[in-house]
């Protein structure tokens, strides 16, 4: 009798924790290494359930000299979040200009992925296939795993028949790698899957880029005007060269090399 109850006890204790898919969401941590203007590292978390995903900014660290930790001086109060809805085919992101939150609607990235490669790799314990695609002037190599059959991925990259666990670009300036993956119950979700409602305005991406440029210009002018007497100022030189921009050109631009005002 005692043995049976002990056995039952052990069975109950050793039963794996499971849940129905409806009550589960997935959380993936990504570590981004950038080498655009200067080396920087970022941490993001991708959460998704069903047809929607949110890619949420966690930390930003720039490391120009060893043994020092640096932070860009334009600190956001809240995070940058990208919202993808795979059924409605929409991409939104929340951004700040002058400390005010805006909800920006972007063209849904239609990336023609080349999936013909048979090369495979293992990332984070999952077997991944290789896909190559172009988006806004950069060629990305994405490693996706059909073992997690969702079309999501980091940043604005999606549309592959499997979760993208690693992305690099052809110039070796961008490297995004998943470092942690978990399935969790909805009760523990405190990140946002729904679009925010506390924004000042909804604007489209081109308008957002123009507004952000104007706001940065104004901030520079303001800072120059607070200098002491010994500082002599000259005209502002804006480098419009895009080689160190993540997105090198946008769909609405006619020629890729037109330096629009967008930074």
């Amino acid at each position: 009798m005692k043995n049976i109850s002990l056995l039952i006890f052990f069975l109950i204790v050793s039963l794996p924790l499971t849940a129905q898919p409806d009550a589960v969401y997935t959380s993936v941590n990504y570590h981004t290494k950038l080498n655009l203007d200067y080396p920087a590292e970022q941490y993001y978390t991708l959460v998704f359930k069903g047809n929607r995903s949110s890619y949420i900014e966690k930390e930003y660290i720039a490391v120009p000299i060893p043994n020092s930790k640096t932070v860009d001086y334009t600190n956001h109060e809240e995070s940058e979040i990208f919202y993808v809805n795979n059924v409605e085919k929409t991409l939104h992101f929340q951004e700040y200009i002058d400390s005010k939150k805006y909800l920006v609607t972007a063209n849904f990235p239609k990336i023609k992925w080349d999936i013909t490669s048979t090369v495979t790799d293992t990332v984070l314990g999952h077997l991944c296939n290789k896909a190559v695609g172009n988006f806004r002037g950069r060629t990305y190599t994405a490693w996706y795993t059909p073992e997690i059959p969702v079309p999501f991925g980091p940043w604005k990259l999606q549309g592959l028949p499997g979760l993208i666990l690693k992305v690099t670009d052809s110039l070796n300036q961008i490297d995004i790698t998943a470092t942690r993956l978990e399935f969790k119950t909805l009760k523990t979700l405190d990140e946002k899957l729904d679009l925010p409602t506390d924004y000042k305005k909804i604007i489209d991406e081109k308008t957002f880029l123009d507004m952000r440029f104007a706001s940065r210009m104004e901030q520079i002018q303001r800072i120059r005007a607070t200098m002491s007497r010994e500082a002599k100022l000259g005209p502002i030189n804006i480098k419009t060269d895009r080689t160190n921009r993540w997105e090198k050109f946008y769909e609405w631009e006619t020629e890729p090399s037109t330096p629009s005002k967008s930074e």
Partner: protein, 892 residues
């Protein structure tokens, strides 16, 4: 029907059928269908089409209704795979033939329980985040016309450079300027910022919460700031530099040369600066020779200096020293950093500075002193010749990752020869002062980080400094003091202060889990001062007398055994800092064969509170009670000559002086906000202090230090910045009020109260236009008032207008104009100055030419008015006249 038509029709039909057959024969199939689960349609399901070798041919997703369609598939055998998260994958083997136009597969997927306790983690370690550096992309702020790093740094937002080159971030002075992570000069950074060319700098980093000692990073509570200049790639590991020569009228010239090589292992920086335009290229030699580092663990004895009794000064306030500094200066500085092994770093620094300066001043003093009224006039011409040689070797050895040994050896020799020609009340007087200063300074520091957040530092320091002075005046103004010496006609004084300091200190820092910090220090410092002064009366070269009461043989030793403790309580938005210092002193004083000793014990507590109310509002406050032990200049017993007509004497006994102080600072916003304001006030009460009891006569004054109760000092200051977007201009408001109260006695009066008030209001408007033109104008009023038995006050105004035209990256022109108005002078109280500079850079070339004109309105002197507690004075200074320089710069 004719036979041919039939045949044609058949042929055509066969061709037509064949064509149709081929069209259908190589037809591509569309695979479509719906995907559902037990409840209903499933959207976003992965549909993969794989061929026989399991390679992925194409893929699609189901839409919101669960329907999918995959088009243009060639005939063949495939595997059609349906997968979705939380469902079992379904695979179908399909065979597409040419005839199939569309094939339909509707699929039902079955739920699969998802495992929740499986976590996939990669082996990568996350970086710990410490938000303490800000990087500035300088490209938005510079225009390429910056000559030196100082001019480059002036343009970085948040960095303020004051008129003598001291660099601050916010209110905090920077510790050092590093170049690619290596530091040459520590607090003496001005020599680098004033000389190093700006064009080699790519980026400027502001490192906040900086620790001089890398083992203390993350442990000590530091609000120190350091700058790191990152070199342009093209400037690394090669010899580069520049030479700049400027020549003008009347022997005005400037020659600057820099030669640098910044490699990974070794860095070299040689510079030279010769000029006669009033510039001080060392930027304050004292900071190079003996920097004072407040609250820096591992440093004791920074504030220990020998004293000099006489100083023929050439100082004036109000505007740029370069306007009154008639000089001829030569500076050569050789600096190198070697890294012979991974663990060892050696820094060698040496400089030689020769400077000859001339200074001209005319003063009229109207003196009211209890019972005496007189007017003194002085026409003062001073020539100072200073020679300084300084050498320093720093060695840092990293014994291990947690242990470090540092040693610093410094040696300094300076000689000064000051001669003045003075017409005092019509009497021709000359002063000669010969100074020599030799200083030897050795310090050793051992740091051991024995636990992750616990550090122990052991420090030792030895200083030996000697400052002999020989002073002579060729007049005898002291008949009233020495009535018996009727033949005396000149005086001499020999004085020397020989100071020896030995100190040892053990410092423990322990940062707790909850971010609280405990610091304990146990140490002993020993300082011995020998002060010998000999005052002699001469008749020509014949020594008449060394009068009694005017000779000192003083030896003063202070031994301080102390225990210092500090605890920082870090609670979210509050930070509470508590300090308690215990001192047991052993004092010995010998004054002209009279000895005394004393063993005072005292406690110095302090309490501070920092409150970060929110992102925009921050308050810091401190209360402290301090007892200080007086120095050798306060304890000697006999009179000493401190200028051609004044004597001074100490208290001839021990003294400990108590003071309480309270400080509050409130900051609203950040410097990058549109509106930024900072207000602070300080109130200090000295419960005991050393004031003076003086006799003031026309030809001489004698002053004796006496101990008095209650002196107070109060200052409140407020600075505001507001940016007007409509005119792209920033308005700065600077308001301040200082009040100070103390007592003294003049000409045997009772103790009388002296109150001084100082009000200042300043207004500035500066543009931040994007284009080639920018303006900057401002005005500042200062009112000073002194109340004793009478009240004297005056108001001065300074206004300026600067215009900048940067026509392109090649040409720029700057115009600066100033107006000074000195209230209370009845005439000649308004002065105007105009300076300009124009530069032209030859495109693609290493050559740049320029023209500089200073004081174009040729204002030769200016007069100002000042008050003290016994006099009102009108002072006239001679200024460097108009000069124009032609400048040529060559970079290599």
């Amino acid at each position: 029907m004719p036979k041919t038509t039939c045949k044609n029709f058949a042929q055509t039909s066969i061709i037509a059928v064949m064509l149709l057959y081929s069209y259908f024969g190589y037809a591509q199939t569309t695979i479509s269908g719906t995907v559902t689960d037990s409840i209903g349609a499933l959207a976003s399901v992965n549909i993969l089409l794989k061929d026989n070798s399991n390679a992925l041919v194409t893929y699609g997703f189901s839409n919101v209704n669960g329907s999918y369609a995959i088009e243009d598939i060639d005939s063949g055998t495939y595997v059609l795979e349906f997968s979705a998260l939380g469902y079992h994958t379904k695979k179908l083997s399909i065979d597409l033939t040419a005839e199939d136009e569309t094939v339909q597969f509707n699929v039902v997927l079955h739920e699969k329980a998802m495992a929740l306790d499986e976590v996939f983690i990669s082996a990568e370690k996350p970086i710990s985040v410490q938000k303490d550096t800000i990087t500035f992309k300088t490209k938005y702020f510079i225009n390429g016309t910056e000559q030196t790093v100082e001019e480059l740094l002036e343009k970085i937002p948040g960095l303020n450079i004051d008129s003598d080159g001291k660099i601050r971030v916010g209110n905090q002075e920077i510790e050092k300027i590093m170049v690619d992570g290596d530091d040459f000069f520590e607090k003496g950074y001005k020599i680098l910022s004033k000389n190093m060319p700006a064009y080699v700098i790519d980026e400027v980093e502001v490192l906040k919460n900086y620790s001089n000692n890398h083992l203390l990073k993350g442990v000590e509570d530091s609000d120190k700031v350091a700058l790191n200049l990152k070199l342009d790639e093209s400037a690394k590991r090669i010899w580069f530099g520049n030479i700049q020569t400027s020549l003008g009228n009347d022997n005005f010239y400037e020659l600057k040369g820099n030669l640098m090589n910044f490699g990974k292992k070794n860095k070299y920086y040689f510079l030279t600066n010769l000029n006669s335009i009033g510039k001080d290229a060392t930027g304050d030699i004292q900071n190079l020779i003996n920097p004072f580092r407040l609250n820096d663990p591992g440093h004791i004895g920074d504030n220990q200096n020998a004293n000099t009794l006489i100083n023929l000064s050439a100082t004036q306030l109000d505007f740029k020293k370069s306007r009154t500094n008639f000089n001829n200066a030569e500076l050569v500085s050789l600096n190198a950093i070697f890294n012979p092994t991974e663990k060892l770093k050696i820094k060698a620094l040496g400089f030689f500075n020769w400077d000859e300066t001339n200074f001209y001043r005319k003063t009229t003093d109207v003196v009211y002193a209890n019972g005496t009224d007189f007017i003194n006039t002085e026409d003062y011409k001073l020539r100072k010749k200073a020679k300084t040689a300084f050498g320093k070797v720093d060695a840092t050895y990293n014994i291990s990752e947690t242990e470090m040994l540092e040693s610093t050896t410094k040696y300094n020799i300076s000689t000064y020869q000051d001669d003045s020609n003075l017409v005092f009340n019509g009497l021709n007087t000359t002063e000669n002062l010969n100074d020599k200063n030799t200083r030897f300074d050795q310090s050793i520091n051992y740091t051991n980080k024995f636990k992750d957040k616990r550090v122990l530092l052991l420090t030792g320091r030895l200083i030996d400094e000697n400052t002999p002075q020989n002073y002579s005046v060729n007049q005898f103004l002291f008949q009233d003091l020495f009535p018996d010496e009727s033949t005396a006609n000149n005086v001499k004084q020999y004085s020397v202060n020989h100071m020896q300091f030995v100190g040892v200190n053990a410092h423990l820092l322990d940062k707790k889990e909850n971010e609280n910090l405990l610091e304990l220090q146990l140490g002993n410092t020993f300082r011995k001062d020998k002060l010998n002064t000999t005052f002699s009366l001469y008749d020509e070269n014949l020594l008449l007398e060394n009068p009694t009461g005017y000779q000192n043989r003083t030896m003063y030793t202070v031994n301080d055994l102390y225990l210092k403790s500090k605890y920082i309580l870090d609670l979210n938005t509050f930070k509470i800092i508590g300090k308690l210092d215990l001192h047991q002193l052993f004092n010995e004083l010998e004054n002209n064969e009279h000895s005394d000793n004393q063993r005072p014990f005292f406690v110095n507590p302090s309490l501070g509170l920092d409150w970060k109310i929110n992102n925009k509002n921050k308050v810091t406050s401190t209360y402290s009670y301090n007892t200080t032990n007086v120095g050798v200049l306060d304890v000697y017993s006999d009179y000493v000559l401190t200028s051609f007509r004044s004597f001074s004497k100490g208290t001839s006994g021990f003294n400990q002086l108590d003071a309480s102080s309270i400080m509050v600072n409130y900051m609203f916003g950040n410097w990058s906000d549109r509106f930024f304001a900072n207000t602070f006030f300080v109130y200090t009460k000295n419960h005991d202090f050393l004031s003076t009891q003086s006799i003031v006569e026309q030809n001489y004054s004698q002053s004796e230090k006496i101990r008095i109760h209650d002196r107070s000092f109060f200052i409140i200051s407020s600075k505001l910045d507001y940016y007007f977007k409509s005119i792209s201009s920033n308005l700065k408001l600077d308001l301040g009020y200082t009040k100070s109260e103390f007592k003294n006695s003049v000409n045997n009066s009772a103790l009388r109260q002296v109150t001084s008030h100082n009000y200042s209001y300043g207004l500035e408007l500066r543009s931040g236009f994007k284009g080639f033109f920018n303006y900057h104008l401002g005005t500042k009023w200062t009112t000073s008032k002194i109340e004793t038995t009478i009240t004297n006050s005056f108001t001065d105004t300074i206004s300026f207008l600067d215009l900048t035209f940067v026509l392109s990256e090649i040409v720029d022109v700057q115009l600066q104009s100033e107006r000074y108005y000195f209230g209370s002078l009845t005439s000649k109280n308004e002065y105007y100055f105009l300076d300009f500079e124009a530069n032209y850079q030859f495109v693609e070339s290493k050559i740049k030419i320029g023209v500089t004109g200073k004081n174009l309105l040729n204002t030769k002197q200016f007069r100002k008015y000042t008050v003290s507690d016994i006099s009102t004075s009108s002072i006239e200074y001679r200024l460097l006249p108009r000069y124009i320089l032609l400048k040529l710069e060559y970079r290599f």
